[in-house]
């Protein structure tokens, strides 16, 4: 029956091509929307995800990574003193201003980490090393920041919050959902640069749990002891950040809506084609029924048509998506193409095409054999 479906599709080339285009359009849009959406999600939590450590301590009611409030440093000591904590690091994430070469200023996100351990610092360097920011007015910028900040060379100076910093390294893959360039400095420098924080504050404490201790239990105990802060495991804080940027800003909703609309458009196009094709073949199907075919056997032909539409459309879209991912990259956007996304879209495509076939199924079920006797 699959063969019959294939022959029907190949026979009516124009219609099949239009259907293919429709499916490719719909599925391609779903791919792009999902890819960009997931790309944004990944970007928004990229530093959290790349920072080693099991536990994140944040200010009370902190909503995301980028806009967390400072809290007193003694919390850090309380954390390190806790049973089951192997080590902990302080991390500052704050907002600053950088002076542009040609005048004017630009807002930047300053990340201050401990250069001895590198925790919270850059994880992939184009040039230089994360430890170079130690003991001085040094900074590392991300290569993605150059679009905003102009070409940056190692060794040159930039003014950040009215302090002259020397660039000692260039990182790769560090972006924020806010699109502000990210500048890494040592924790100590960040603490003195960002004056609104106060000299004995940190924004995060990132801690590692000793082997043999359970992360949830250590978190529970910390939550009981520490006042004025929230304690998350790494995954939760990453998710919280992602959900904040994608959901609370409405961005996520808009993506979902586009995906839904694409899905419906695809369903309509496939449904329309399969319905027309079924109606055109209704006498043939009726004859098969008269000759002893069950409804089920005819459904197989129709569902096979839907499956072929789905599969061919999906494969072409996947190809286009993989090729266009490079284009997105060129525009500085991240489009995520992952196995599970592909499978999810494949499943969506099948659901889209198969549900589109259902109207036709009802038609076949109700074929009035009397039509066969009409010349």
């Amino acid at each position: 029956m699959f063969y019959v479906a294939l022959r029907i599709i190949l026979y009516d080339k124009v219609r099949s091509l239009i259907t293919l285009l429709g499916v490719v359009f719909a599925v391609g849009l779903i791919f792009a929307q999902m890819g960009i959406f997931l790309g944004l999600m990944e970007t928004s939590s990229v530093i959290v995800d790349h920072t080693p450590g099991d536990i994140w301590v944040t200010s009370k009611n902190s909503k995301n990574f980028d806009f967390s409030q400072p809290f007193p440093e003694y919390i850090y000591h309380q954390v390190t003193a806790e049973d089951g904590i192997q080590s902990a690091e302080k991390l500052i994430v704050a907002w600053g201003i950088i002076r542009q070469k040609e005048g004017g200023t630009e807002q930047v996100e300053i990340v201050g980490y401990n250069p001895d351990t590198g925790i919270g610092g850059p994880w992939d360097m184009v040039e230089g090393d994360p430890s170079l920011v130690k003991n001085g007015n040094f900074a590392i910028v991300d290569e993605s920041a150059m679009k905003r900040l102009g070409d940056i060379q190692i060794g040159e100076y930039r003014d950040v919050l009215w302090h002259r910093l020397q660039i000692v390294g260039i990182s790769r893959g560090v972006k924020s959902f806010t699109t502000a360039p990210i500048i890494f400095t040592s924790f100590n420098l960040a603490q003195s640069l960002v004056t609104y924080m106060g000299s004995d504050s940190t924004v995060f404490v990132v801690a590692k749990v000793s082997p043999g201790h359970s992360v949830p239990e250590v978190i529970k105990s910390l939550q009981k002891k520490l006042k004025g802060v929230d304690v998350y495991d790494k995954g939760s804080f990453s998710r919280k950040t992602r959900l904040y940027w994608t959901m609370e800003t409405g961005v996520g909703f808009s993506f979902m809506l586009t995906i839904l609309i694409s899905f419906l458009i695809g369903m309509l196009i496939v449904g329309q084609t399969i319905y027309n094709s079924t109606m055109e073949h209704i006498k043939e199907f009726g004859t098969l029924k008269a000759l002893g075919a069950s409804n089920y056997e005819i459904y197989k032909i129709i569902f096979s048509q839907a499956m072929i539409n789905a599969l061919s459309g999906y494969l072409v879209s996947l190809l286009i998506t993989i090729m266009s991912a490079k284009i997105y990259e060129a525009f500085g956007m991240v489009m995520v193409i992952k196995g599970w996304v592909n499978l999810l879209v494949l499943a969506l495509t099948f659901i889209m095409c198969l549900s589109a076939a259902f109207i036709s199924i009802r038609k076949v079920k109700r074929i009035d054999p009397a039509i066969l006797f009409r010349g």
Binding site: V4, R7, I8, L10, Y11, D12, H281, K283, E284, G286, T287, L288, A290, L291, G292, A293, S294, E297, P369, A370, L372, F373, R374, G375
Partner: protein, 230 residues
């Protein structure tokens, strides 16, 4: 041996609004094994209606119907399908071939429905198409066949269903005289060889001589019967 068809008082009344049409009235019919019967009558005389009821497709308004010893109860759809599958095959005026499938594939499709696949099916399809004289057109698409050839593919397909009773409604209706005759001869010949029963509804008087028996209808009634000598 079972008698293929026995009807008693078979009738069909169509009602449309306050109008009623006695499309088939009080038809008593018996069909014997291996008979090729022509159902003649002017347009509107009830041939198609009678054929649809014999084909277990249309529910009669009255009378009884026995098909190969089975009392046909028209209320039970599943049973009707079963009876059709077991006993009846059809040929229609419109050939109803899948345009995307070759003659061979159209026949193969029905063989597949019957559970015959692979080599035996291919052999059988070629056999059937050769029997209707299309051995050199086996892999043609319907659009590349003439009307008569298409109808012969439809006959091969009907034979592939391997039912003892074949019902044909105006099988020559879309064909010219030469082709119509040829189709009827093929059908008659194969029915005789394979010992199948055939009922052909037609108003094509030019093919009368093909049939063992002719039933004439008018206004839904059987008005006359004629048997071939011998």
């Amino acid at each position: 041996m079972q008698i293929p068809i026995i009807t008693k008082g078979f009738s069909k009344i169509y009602t449309e609004g306050q109008f009623t049409v006695n499309a088939v009235s009080d038809v008593d019919l018996q069909l014997d094994e291996g008979e090729v019967v022509g159902l003649f009558g002017p347009s509107g005389s009830g041939k198609t209606t009678l054929l649809s009821m014999l084909g277990c497709i249309l529910r009669p308004s009255g009378g009884s119907f026995e098909l190969y010893g089975n009392n046909v109860v028209f209320q039970d759809d599943r049973k009707l399908t079963e009876l059709r599958k077991k006993y009846i095959s059809f040929i229609f005026q419109g050939f109803n071939l899948f345009p995307a499938l070759t003659a061979f594939e159209n026949v193969m499709l029905v063989l597949k429905l019957k559970g015959i696949e692979g080599n035996p099916a291919e052999q059988r399809a070629i056999e059937l198409l050769s029997a209707v004289g299309l051995q050199d057109r086996i892999h043609f698409l319907p659009r590349d066949l003439s009307g008569g050839q298409k109808q012969r593919v439809a006959i091969a397909r009907a034979l592939a269903a391997d039912a003892p009773l074949i019902l044909a409604d105006e099988p020559t209706g879309n064909l010219d005289f030469v082709n119509g005759r040829k189709v009827m001869e093929v059908l008659n010949d194969l029915a005789k060889k394979q010992n199948r029963c055939v009922i052909v509804a037609t108003h094509d008087n030019r093919i009368e001589d093909v049939f063992d028996r002719i039933i004439y209808m008018e206004d839904g009634r059987v008005i006359r019967e004629k048997r071939r000598e011998g």
